[in-house]
C-alpha cells in the first residue's frame, strides 16, 4: 500500500471529523502526558534530593530521642514527646576519646515563635542551638556573624536571622538589622512581651531543603530556646558532622555505645534514641518518591488503557461506517491482509498522533512545574529524558495496534458482497 497516499487519506478522514478525532485521541493524550510528567518530575525530584545531599554533606548524622524503626519515621512524627536526650549526652559525645571522628556537633531544639520589631510582628520558626551549628551545617552569613562559643554557651541575648525573616522585618525600613533589638516569644504565648534579643547577624539566602524553607527561621542560643521559649530541659536533636564519609558507620557505632552508657541501656529493646544519617534519610525519601511514581505510572497506564478502549470503540464505529468502502476495496483486489493492515495502520497513526500531542502537553506541564518549583526556592531541574519520549511514543503506537486489532480483523473478515450491499 502506498504509504504517503494512505497517510493523506487518514489525515483527510481525521480532519473531516475533527470533534470525534479529538475525543478519540484524548485518552491517549492524557495517558502519555501523564507518563511524561511523572518521569520528568521524578527526575527533577531526584536531582533536587541529590543537590541537597551535596549541600548538607552526606556525612551528617542526627541523633533523635526515642526508639524508632530505622526505615520508619521518627517517634516525634506520631506526637510522642521523648525527653531522654540531654545536654549531658551532647557533652559526652564531644569527647574525642570516645567519638574520635566527630568533626563537629551541635545540639538543638526547635519551635514556632512570634518576633516583634517596633510595630512589625511576624510568625516564624526558631532553632535554639549552640555555636557549633555553623560548623555542622554549611551556610554563609550575609552580614554580621553567627554566635560564638561565649554567646552560645553563655546564654547571651543574641539572635541570628534567616534572610526572609530579615526581609519581612526590616525590608524597606532602611534600617540595618544588625544591632537592632527584637522581642521573641513562643507562638503559644498570648500576652505581650517576649525576650529581647540583639541581632548579631543575617544568614545568606539558602533556599529550601527537605521541604522546609531554610530562610524562614531565626537562630538563638540553646538555653534561651529551651528555658524561655519552650520551657523544657531536654534536647530535640543532636547533629554530628563526621570527618569523612568513610567513618560514618564507625561513628554511628561510637555514638550508639556512648549513648547506651549514658542512658544505662542494657538490652536492645531499651534503646531510647535513634541515630540517623542523611544518606538513610535520602534513601527513605527516594523509596517514597519511587513508590509514588510507580503508583502514578499505574494511573497513567490506566488512562492509556481507557484511551485504548476509546480507540477500540471508535475504530469499530469507523469500520461499520466504512463497510461499503471496505467492500469496494475488496472488489478491486484488496486482500484480507491489506484491509486488516489498513485499519491497524490507521489506529496506530491516530494513537501515534495522540502520543505526540501528549508528549508536547506533558513537556509543557513539566516545564511549568519546574518554573513553579524554582519560584518556591527549590533547585529543580527540568528534565525530559529522550528515553521517556521514545517510550511514550512507542506505548501509544502499541496501544493503537493492540486495541485496533479486533476492529481490523473484523474489517478484514467482511464478505465483499455484504459489504457492498451495506446501507
Amino acid at each position: 500500500m502506498n504509504f504517503i497516499a494512505e497517510l493523506k487519506m487518514i489525515a483527510k478522514g481525521l480532519l473531516a471529523r475533527k470533534g470525534r478525532s479529538f475525543l478519540t485521541i484524548l485518552g491517549i493524550v492524557i495517558g502519555v502526558a501523564g507518563v511524561i510528567i511523572i518521569i520528568s518530575l521524578g527526575a527533577g525530584a531526584q536531582s533536587l534530593v541529590l543537590g541537597q545531599v551535596t549541600k548538607l554533606g552526606s556525612n551528617l548524622l542526627s541523633v533523635q530521642p526515642g526508639k524508632s524503626n530505622e526505615k520508619g519515621p521518627p517517634a516525634q512524627a506520631f506526637g510522642i514527646v521523648v525527653t531522654s536526650l540531654t545536654t549531658a549526652d551532647a557533652d559526652a559525645l564531644r569527647d574525642p576519646g570516645r567519638v574520635p571522628h566527630a568533626a563537629a556537633l551541635n545540639a538543638l531544639v526547635r519551635g514556632t515563635t512570634t518576633v516583634t520589631w517596633g510595630s512589625r510582628t511576624i510568625d516564624t520558626n526558631f532553632v535554639g542551638t549552640d555555636s557549633y551549628y555553623s560548623q555542622v551545617i554549611n551556610f554563609n552569613m550575609a552580614e554580621g556573624q553567627f554566635f560564638g562559643q561565649q554567646e552560645g554557651e553563655g546564654n547571651a541575648n543574641v539572635v541570628v536571622l534567616g534572610s526572609s525573616v530579615a526581609d519581612s522585618l526590616f525590608g524597606n525600613s532602611g534600617v540595618d538589622p544588625v544591632g537592632q533589638i527584637i522581642k521573641v516569644k513562643a507562638a503559644s504565648q498570648t500576652e505581650a512581651g517576649g525576650v529581647p534579643l540583639r541581632i548579631i547577624g543575617v544568614v545568606e539566602k539558602r533556599g529550601s531543603s527537605f521541604f522546609q524553607d531554610q530562610d524562614d527561621q531565626i537562630f538563638l542560643p540553646l538555653a534561651i530556646g529551651q528555658q524561655q521559649l519552650l520551657g523544657i530541659h531536654y534536647l530535640q536533636a543532636i547533629n554530628i558532622k563526621v570527618d569523612s564519609a568513610d567513618h560514618v558507620s564507625q561513628t554511628i557505632d561510637d555514638v550508639t555505645s556512648v549513648l547506651r552508657q549514658q542512658h544505662h541501656v542494657k538490652t536492645n529493646t531499651d534503646v531510647d534514641f535513634t541515630v540517623r544519617n542523611i544518606a538513610d534519610a535520602v534513601s527513605l525519601l527516594t523509596t517514597i518518591t519511587n513508590a509514588l511514581s510507580l503508583f502514578l505510572t499505574a494511573m497513567a497506564a490506566i488512562a492509556l488503557v481507557v484511551g485504548g478502549v476509546g480507540i477500540l470503540n471508535i475504530m469499530l464505529v469507523t469500520v461499520a461506517e466504512r463497510t461499503r468502502e471496505i467492500g469496494l476495496r475488496k472488489a478491486v483486489g484488496a486482500t484480507n491482509k491489506a484491509v486488516r493492515n489498513q485499519f491497524l495502520f490507521e489506529a496506530a497513526t491516530v494513537t501515534f498522533l495522540g502520543g505526540i500531542v501528549g508528549i508536547i502537553v506533558g513537556a509543557v506541564i513539566s516545564f511549568l512545574a519546574s518554573l513553579l518549583m524554582h519560584k518556591l526556592g527549590y533547585d529543580w531541574a527540568f528534565v525530559i529524558s529522550p528515553l521517556s519520549v521514545v517510550l511514550a511514543a512507542g506505548v501509544s503506537v502499541l496501544t493503537g495496534v493492540i486495541f485496533g486489532l479486533y476492529p481490523a480483523f473484523k474489517a478484514a473478515k467482511l464478505n465483499p458482497i455484504d459489504a457492498l450491499r451495506y446501507e
Partner: protein, 240 residues
C-alpha cells in the same frame, strides 16, 4: 476455450435451519469478446450469478471454470488477486471513495496490484481518457455529476486491463442521457475486444448487449443473441 465455463452452478443461502436456493443449477459458456446481458426481475438470482462470476461470492454447488481453471480450489488471496487483475466492476451506486480525487479513485486497483511495476498515474490517466474524463482528473468525487461518477467507475474497472468487466445496473441511478453515454462507452469497449457482462432488469438496457441470458427463479430460462441490437447515442455527455 471459453472464458467462463459454468456447469450446473448452484447457490443456497442458509439462515439457521432455512435453506433458500437462489441459483438452482445454471449452465452456460461465455467466450472472450462477448457482450452478455444477464436479465431478470429482482430476486431472480441474476445479481448472485454475477457475484459468483465476478469472484465476490462462491457457489455452493456445480462447477465454475475461469480461463480454463477450476475456481473451486482458489483461496481468498487468489480470489483477491483475480478480482484485482482479471475482472473489473461497475456498480449501480458508483462506489467511489469520498474526499478523494478522480485520479486517485481510478488508481485504487493499482494500489493493490503487487508485483506489477507500472506508472500508476499514466495508467489512470489513460483509463480516464478512454471514458472522456481527462478534464476532471483533480476533481473530488463530490464535485462531479452522476454520469461522470459512473464513467470514473468504468475507468477504475478498466485500469488493470481486465479480461472481463461486470456492470451491475450501471444506468440504474442515471438519467437517460447520462445512461446513454455510459452504455456507449461499454459498447465502445466491447468493440475494442473487451468482454462485458451486464446485469439489468430492463429489456431496453439489455438490448445494448449482443446476447441476453434470462434468469427467473434461479434458473436460466432463455439464452439467445440480440436480434435488433440498440446502439447508444453517439452524442456523449461531455458538456459542462
Amino acid at each position: 476455450m471459453a472464458l467462463i465455463h459454468a456447469v450446473n452452478l448452484k447457490k443456497d443461502y442458509v439462515n439457521g435451519d432455512v435453506v433458500t436456493p437462489v441459483l438452482k443449477g445454471v449452465s452456460f459458456d461465455i467466450a472472450a469478446g462477448e457482450f452478455v446481458a444477464i436479465m431478470g426481475p429482482s430476486g431472480s438470482g441474476k445479481s448472485t450469478l454475477m457475484h459468483i462470476l465476478g469472484f465476490l461470492d462462491r457457489p455452493t454447488g456445480g462447477k465454475f471454470e475461469f480461463e480454463g481453471q477450476d475456481t473451486a480450489e482458489f483461496d481468498d488471496d487468489r480470489l483477491a488477486q483475480i478480482r484485482n487483475e482479471r475482472v473489473g466492476f461497475v456498480f449501480q451506486a458508483f462506489n467511489l471513495l469520498p474526499r478523494t480525487t478522480v485520479l486517485d479513485n481510478v488508481k485504487l486497483p493499482l494500489v493493490y496490484n503487487r508485483g506489477k511495476k507500472t506508472d500508476q498515474t499514466a495508467a489512470a490517466r489513460q483509463a480516464l481518457e478512454a471514458v472522456g474524463l481527462s478534464h476532471r482528473l483533480d476533481f473530488y468525487t463530490n464535485q462531479i455529476s452522476g454520469g461522470e461518477k459512473q464513467r470514473v467507475a468504468i475507468a477504475r474497472a478498466l485500469v488493470n486491463d481486465p479480461a472481463v468487466i461486470f456492470a451491475d445496473e450501471p444506468t440504474g441511478n442515471l438519467d437517460s442521457k447520462s445512461g446513454g453515454a455510459v452504455m456507449k462507452i461499454l459498447q465502445d469497449l466491447n468493440d475494442a475486444g473487451r468482454t462485458i457482462i451486464l446485469v439489468t432488469h430492463e429489456l431496453d438496457t439489455a438490448e445494448h448487449a449482443k446476447r441476453i441470458m434470462r434468469i427467473r427463479d434461479g434458473q436460466l430460462v432463455g439464452d439467445e443473441p440480440v436480434r435488433k441490437r440498440k446502439l447508444a447515442s453517439l452524442e456523449r455527455d461531455l458538456a459542462k
